[in-house]
Each structure stands twice: as C-alpha cells, then as structure tokens.
Amino acid sequence: MLKIGLAAFGACLPMSIPAGAQTASDATAETSMTGVPGDPDTGRKILADRKLGNCLACHTVSDMSEHPFQGDVGPTLDGVANRWAPEQLRAILVDAKMMFGDQTIMPGFYTLKVGVDVAEPFQGERILTAQQVEDVVAYLTTLTKDPN
C-alpha cells in the first residue's frame, strides 16, 4: 500500500501521487492534510452545499433525507464507512481518478489535475480546501448504516 503523507505537502501544494505507481484501489492518503481533526457537522453541510461538495448531485445519503432530489450517478454513501477506511475516503476525495481510473465521472476535490479551459474564477483553485476535505471525511466515517 502506498502511503502518502499529505501533511508534509501542506494544504497549499498540489497533490502529487505519481500516476500509475500503484493499482488504483491501493491509493490512500494516510494523514490528515491539516493536522486539525475534521468536523463531521461541517462536513455534512459541505456534502449538501451545491457550491462546495454538492455530493448529493450524484450520491444518496439516507441520513440527509431532508434534502430532496439526491442523484444516483454514484453509489449510495450509506454504509460508506464500512466499505472504505478513512485514508481511502480521503484519497478518493482528493483525486478520485487515482482510485477509480481516468474515466470516472467523479471530480477530484483537492487536485489541480482538472479539465481544459477552466473558467477564470476557478483557475488554480481546488474545489474544496484541505480542511473541508477533512470535514467531509469526518462526516463520511459516521455513515456506518448499510443500505437496505
């Protein structure tokens, strides 16, 4: 298993997992990227926020049923904590393409390896901050109830 000490890179440096250096599912991001523990309540809000994680665009979460119209492009996040360890969840969030391959629809939330012609306000920017990634990881680790 490739272990990536993200804390060493700091929150302001691009992620640098060498492409093709491991099978996708081996990718992990072991350490908190900020040294500050994630806050699950904040993470829950980031999941729903259409300008931040907007995770519900593609995933369902029973725990968030107050938000209607959850998408089904990706798998449900119910029980996600039973399927992935926190360091794997962190790696998926940082750059899902490292975990699932280049063809995945899932954006990388903490990477600058993005598509062409990025619009001006987003150039050089990641979708989430390192702390927001930690907050989302913290919330996801609470989702231990498997889907029905």
């Binding site: 369902t60 959850q70 998408g71 089904d72 492009v73 629809i105 012609d117 979708i127 029905n148």
Partner: protein, 287 residues
Amino acid sequence: MNNAKTGLAATLALAVGLAAVGPAHSDPVDDTLVIDGELEMVTRVKAPEGHPFDEVISGWHYRTDETRALEADTFQNPGMLYTQRGEEVWNTVEGEAGKSCASCHEDASASMKGVGAHYPKWNAAAGKPFNLELQINDCRVSNMQAEPYKFDDPDQKALVTFVKHQSLGMPMQIDLSEGEMQQWWERGKERYYLRMGQLNLACATCHENYNGNYIRADHLSQGNVNGFPTYRLKQANMVSLHNRFRGCIRDTRAEQPKAFSDDLMALEVYVTWRGTGLSIETPAVRQ
C-alpha cells in the same frame, strides 16, 4: 404466500427508501409521442453506423408524465407561442431592401418544409457549416440588407423555432459528404469527449456513460438535439441549442465558448449526427 408477503414488504421498504432519498436510476419511459393525437413521432431509432449506442432515444422519454404530455398537445405546449411569434417575424419587412422572409420564400409551410431537419449544412462561401441561425443572419445581411441578429435575440429564437417547426415529425439527417463536413464532424467528436473545467467533465461523461441516471432531479438523457430550440420549464423560456451547450459547459466550471464559434459549430454537427433519424420535435418541452 409467505414469499409474496416478504416481497411486498421489501418493495414497500424500497419505495419508502426511495421517497426519502429521491429518484433512482430509471430507464427512459416506454411511451409513444403523438402530437395532437395525429402525428406519430420517431423518438427511438436504430443508431447510425459508428455510433456508440445501438439505439438513439429522444430526450422526451426521459421527462416526467406532465412534461411529456405538454409536448404532445399543441395547445398546451408553451413553445407554440414562440412558433406563432416566429411566423410574425417571417412576415415582417426589415432592412434597406424592404423585404421580409416571406417576400422571397413565400409560404413557409411549403418552402421551409424539411429544411430545418438537414441543418447544419456545409456553406462553401463561408468555408464552414451553417446552422439555421447563421443561415438566417446571412440572408438578413445579404438579401434583406438588415442587421444580423445578436445571439439569442428573441426574434432569432422565434424565427428559428418557426422554421424548424415546419419540419415537425421529419427525420433529422445531415449531409456529411458536402465540403469539409467530415472534418468538422471529427472535430466535434473530439470536443464531445474532451474533459472540461474544474469538474473535469466531457459531454460524454454524462450523456454517454450515465444517461438514465439522475443528477439531483435531472434525469440525464442522451443529449440529443432534435427538439431545439426547446421550451425549458426550468427557464420558462425558449432555449437555443448554443445556449444549452454554453449552460452545460458553464456547469463544468469551464470557460464558455462563444455561440456559433468553430468549437460549438463542430459540436453541433457531431451531436446532430448522433441523433440521426429522430423526428424534429421543435418546439420540444423539457424540464
């Protein structure tokens, strides 16, 4: 009996679960589009050779019962107001030459029948494909000595809707053998598979790989263009094809190409080909 009960309980549990979290993957609705109970539309057709799908499916099948019903009834279809406005524009004299569209083309129901089903077309003088908007603007400048429409001028949308509507029910089919259409098709295909923006999405990511799934409340379709300009309930307005291209691209957090730019004209050529054989539905009604 026990099994049946268990099955029912499971079904109910599933239904409750779905109600709680929203829609789940669902296939396009099995239904037939008949306009005013008279004109049966081709909304599913065998894909042309070289197409990634076996079957090409109109976006109509991906919409709700209510939205599909709106399109099937001319009196209910909000897009028909724009068709009527387009007819007024058709008959209005503009420009130094003192002409309207009708001055030369006369009765659109005869002269424009089938025309909109075959655009974009190669334009040798311009050395690029023309869609209806570009053709109309060319006609306005050259023949009417009028100003070209600005992109998405309400009269442009109304007139394009009216002209396209004259091909209602006719199969969409463009000619790739003319001029350099094949090269523009290739360029459009590259564009279709190009990952864009901070969200790193291509057209194909959603419309080829995930049609039938939901992004929030939006049931992803194959992204066919046979209904454009289309009445979009979300915007309560007629929406042109290039407006929709730009909206989709904006949502990937990429810079939006200009309407009728070479990039978007190439994309129009390619996606029009992808819908080959579908009936023109203009004005379609979508979410």
